[in-house]
């Protein structure tokens, strides 16, 4: 199973996670080859140092091992599951270190940066992500970035922007649905 070619089938995802649970070296290395880079990038960008990124990467794989029995490919993709673990751990660490309930993760200007064609080192998941995000308008990308990377709740965004809470919720939801449609290759409504 080449680490960087083609999406994984659910049964392949199950096999990899079962291998992870059993401590199978080949499964761990395959998962690492596929997902370590985006996990490390999240740590690097959100936590701000290579050292923290390394620690986060180790923690993500260990947490995935601990939770492996709960993984169900029928209920979610492996990539989503791992990145959710990474996001949660990164946010938890920031909250712990800064002692605040709402971390200031990264400047909005930093994320997410949509790459151009010919960007260095194409990675399967990243290419697809960049393509999917290109469907969003700039305000939509900034809105999602404020929530996902800065940890702002819909209420906090609504108060900061002077916009009704319901409007912010609707916009967040609409933006996520646009990404989802782009992922599935569907036309925008």
């Amino acid at each position: 199973m080449d680490a960087r070619q083609g999406p994984l089938l659910p049964r392949e995802e199950h096999a990899l996670v079962a291998g992870l649970l059993a401590g199978d070296e080949e499964a761990i290395r395959t998962l690492y080859a596929r997902f370590a880079r985006p996990v490390y990038t999240m740590g690097y960008r959100l936590l701000g140092s290579a050292e923290a990124a390394e620690e986060l990467t180790q923690d993500v794989f260990l947490t995935a091992w601990r939770k492996a029995a709960q993984f169900d490919a029928a209920r979610g993709r492996l990539s989503t599951w791992l990145m959710t673990i990474a996001h949660n751990l990164a946010v938890d660490r920031l909250r712990r270190e800064t002692g605040v309930s709402r971390p200031n993760l990264v400047p909005v200007e930093e994320v997410p940066e949509v790459a151009t064609e010919g960007d260095e080192e194409p990675v399967l998941e990243r290419d697809a992500a960049v393509r999917a995000l290109s469907c969003l308008s700039e305000p939509e990308r900034r809105l999602l970035a404020r929530a996902y990377f800065r940890g702002l709740t819909a209420r906090e965004i609504a108060e900061a922007d002077g916009v009704p809470l319901g409007t912010v919720k609707t916009r967040i939801r609409a933006a996520l649905i646009k990404i989802r449609r782009a992922q599935l290759g569907k036309d925008q409504p």
Binding site: E25, R45, T57, G76
Partner: protein, 260 residues
């Protein structure tokens, strides 16, 4: 009392749930709902896929160091380890005694020397030494080793004016499995960001060097101590010395591996 969440209110929160910004109590309510509602679960999954896209689209960081893969593989394999033979009580007691009881050597002597002048420092030294012993005992409960002849305890002596109070490294040799090194450092100041990570290395003949532990600031407990264990394919019994360097490269602790 658990809040009841129906489909309408769950769906109102799914987007925020996917982004990880839903406050804890609301998130728990949504998760309880998702546990039994397949329709909302399907929508939640789709929104989570979309949210994860944000993470994948980040501008790539510089490549991680090549050693990270080995550390990940090692730590997961260790966590998933086959049923480990628990150390015999006698062997465990011997290792602990070696850590606690080397009063005439290593950092015990250094701290005792200081104690003549600083009673408080002496109490602190005792407390840290006791702490190391307790943490080591907890660690050794989880790793396989057959007996005292497999274990070597290296007491680490602080360099003059080193910001680290002390530590110990235990090397456990195994004829069948990978050798194991357990490093414990005490008296660490997590606020001294420039000092982290501390690197614990074994030194051998002809300049051989093996990094056995890398301790970051976040690993330091409230008590100022941290430990790391790792398995290695190398024969650890061939190494003669241990050094601990801070991130600036300064040697803060060192010790000599006792001969068998």
């Amino acid at each position: 009392m658990r809040a009841s969440v129906d489909c309408l209110s769950a769906r109102d929160r799914l987007a925020e749930h996917a982004l990880g910004t839903l406050p804890g109590r609301e998130a728990r309510g949504v998760e309880r709902h998702l546990a039994w509602c397949a329709a909302c679960r399907k929508e939640a999954r789709e929104l989570q896929d979309a949210a994860a896209t944000l993470a994948f689209a980040l501008r790539p960081a510089p490549p991680p160091p090549p050693t990270l893969e080995e550390r990940v593989v090692r730590s997961v394999r260790r966590a998933a380890g086959r049923p480990a033979a628990r150390p015999g009580r006698a062997a465990l007691a011997w290792v602990l005694a070696a850590v606690v009881g080397l009063a005439g050597l290593g950092w015990g002597a250094v701290m005792a020397g200081r104690a003549e002048r600083f009673e408080r420092a002496a109490l602190e030294a005792e407390r840290r030494q006791d702490l190391i012993a307790r943490r080591l005992a907890a660690l050794l409960e989880t790793v396989p080793f057959a007996g005292r002849h497999d274990a070597r305890v290296v007491q680490l002596t602080p360099a003059p004016s080193a910001p680290v109070a002390g530590g110990a490294v235990v090397l456990l040799a195994s004829p069948r499995r990978l050798d194991l090194a357990v490093a414990l450092l005490a008296g660490l100041d997590p606020g001294d960001r420039g000092a982290f990570p501390y690197r614990v290395s074994l030194l051998g003949p002809r300049g051989r060097q093996l990094l056995v532990a890398r301790i970051g600031a976040h690993e330091v407990g409230r008590d100022g101590s941290a430990e790391e264990a790792g398995e290695f394919p190398e024969d650890l019994s061939t190494f003669t010395d241990v050094v601990v360097r801070d991130a600036r490269g300064a040697v803060v602790l060192r010790g000599r591996v006792p001969t068998a």
